[in-house]
Subunit: 328 residues, 2 copies
């Protein structure tokens, strides 16, 4: 069955099931003109939105509907994590070609609901419309955070250490493997990093508890994110190639194709790990008190503007943001 | 200049200006990973989203960029009004062909900001991405309402009167005039109803103060909205053709083209007026205490399911929702 046969209201009935994972902050979800939400007393609210367009942000040859649903929610939860917050609710707008199979849309929602359930995020509304020429997904996520614990990207101070969570560059390597249909070792790990990234709400909450100075999620590559923090904070940064967290899988992949893993780490994008800066003592405390946390100190914030990389051989070179420009 | 030259960050800088109209509920707007919002103590939050796709919901031959920006915010503010609430913040995601002139996007935002300023709605975030094949706009609006004053569509009771605000059918007539480039009297009034509808936050707040029983906005035509209220409430309705509020402009237009104005009123859509039901005494009080309010009693809620229209000649006939199905 395709969407034309089922119709908009039939579709809404199907997707509205199993969308509530936390009733304490929800008075009314899908079904009226607007959702009715109950903010937690004393918390401030966070709101973020991302639009994903077919053949710009994803292509259906390299991602399944389930993964697409999962990922379109994940990237927004990551933005809430990047403020130190807890995600609470999502609104999902889908623009779909009318010949799209209903099963595609159901799988997309199943992937989204899987992640929503993991994070106790309610899907409370949105829109389902026709978009004849390309699949378009817009997800808005609302979250909460204690007002004294919001962390902006503008708080970095000279003397801070720069810390990142997890390993970086895996997602970009995974995308390359998918695009070129490469047969390489460790492909599964790298592809998984690309199609089902895990938003680091856990690390974001730790950051907000420890009162780190600045925080961003790594969506456009480490180089770009460090520049964002430095520009917002009016400082510079120095990072060390030898300290960048590279997975065994990425190292193997890079060796296999004769490329530097560092390229993927700096410019890869879509990691959805977190980058934060804090006083060295704060991070030392964090690492002592939470020994199992996978974070790595990769550099330091300095007074002098600009971002440089200290290579393994000790040479220092500027790194540019090399941000994406999708308008091309 | 087109978007390709300006780039995403250049565009964000341009549109982020003049987006704050109420600082009491805003801690941080555009510029970080998520907006930080301060809910009003004791209020519950409302959230709604609508996606508009080029050549499905609008066509650039019949609406200017300014009007498109205005209207895409208006339809969402209308959903907040339809809960009895006050709109507070908007997140705007735009998917745009890269050859779109920057001036187009600026005019779109100018129209949106015009309405945002009127309602003291902050534009706090969103996304700007490439969408090569069609312009796509997703707007999310967040609002607030006193918890005891939320009005759902499911509260209609047998014995309620059915009330609508303003006049209906004008927007659909305006669209027809635009699509067929008709030269008719009163065209300006009807076109204006279509391209710059005024969301009825004023009427919604009155409804919430008077504690009306059910409330909806009229986006898909009166027939469809009455059915929504009746289905959600488990009741039926009877409406009177002679009581339907028809503007002088629509009456003139309908006579000119030899059609019944009632057709436009029932099935036209995009009025963005409100429909509500309440005890007869509540409405009598409302009309006595607020003599300048433009609302009309058009029928009553009955026990028996189904919606019927009593024609001017006294005959009674069922009316169907005839809802839109954009998946065609």
């Amino acid at each position: 069955m395709d969407l034309k046969e089922l119709g908009e209201f039939g579709l809404i009935d199907r997707v509205a099931a199993d969308t509530v994972y936390d009733t304490t902050t929800l008075l009314c979800g899908i079904g009226d003109d607007a959702a009715v939400l109950k903010p937690t007393l004393g918390m401030v609210q966070l709101a973020t939105a991302d639009m994903l367009v077919e053949d710009i942000h994803f292509t259906l040859t390299t991602i399944t509907p389930w993964q697409l649903g999962y990922k379109s929610l994940a990237v927004n939860i990551s933005d809430i994590a990047a403020m130190g917050g807890i995600p609470r609710h999502a609104l999902v707008s889908l623009g779909m070609p009318s010949q799209l199979p209903v099963s595609f849309v159901e799988q997309l929602y199943t992937g989204m609901k899987h992640l929503a359930a993991l994070h106790h995020v309610n899907i409370v509304g949105g829109d389902t419309v026709a978009s004849p020429k390309a699949l378009v997904i817009n997800v808005t996520v609302l979250g909460e955070v204690e007002p004294e614990r919001v962390i902006y990207r503008s708080g970095a101070r000279a003397g801070d250490v720069i810390v990142v969570s997890g390993t970086l560059g895996d997602s970009a390597a995974g995308l390359r493997i998918l695009m070129q249909d490469m047969k390489v070792p460790c492909a599964d790990f790298l592809i998984k990093a690309h199609v089902t990234p895990q938003p680091r709400v856990d690390i974001g909450r730790i950051c907000s508890q420890y009162g780190v100075h600045s925080l961003n999620d790594i969506s456009d590559g480490l180089a770009s994110e460090i520049h964002e923090i430095c520009n917002a904070s009016g400082v510079g940064a120095r990072i060390y190639e030898a300290k960048l967290p590279v997975s065994q899988a990425l190292a193997t992949f890079a060796a296999e194709i004769g490329k530097e893993a560092t390229e993927y780490v700096l410019y890869g994008g879509e990691d959805y790990q977190l980058i934060f800066t804090a006083a060295p003592q704060q991070i030392a405390d964090m690492q002592r008190q939470l020994p199992h946390i996978t974070v790595a100190v990769v550099g330091e914030i300095i007074v002098k503007r600009g971002v440089t990389l200290i290579s393994r051989d000790g040479t220092e070179q500027p790194i540019l943001p090399r941000g994406y420009n999708h308008f091309r």
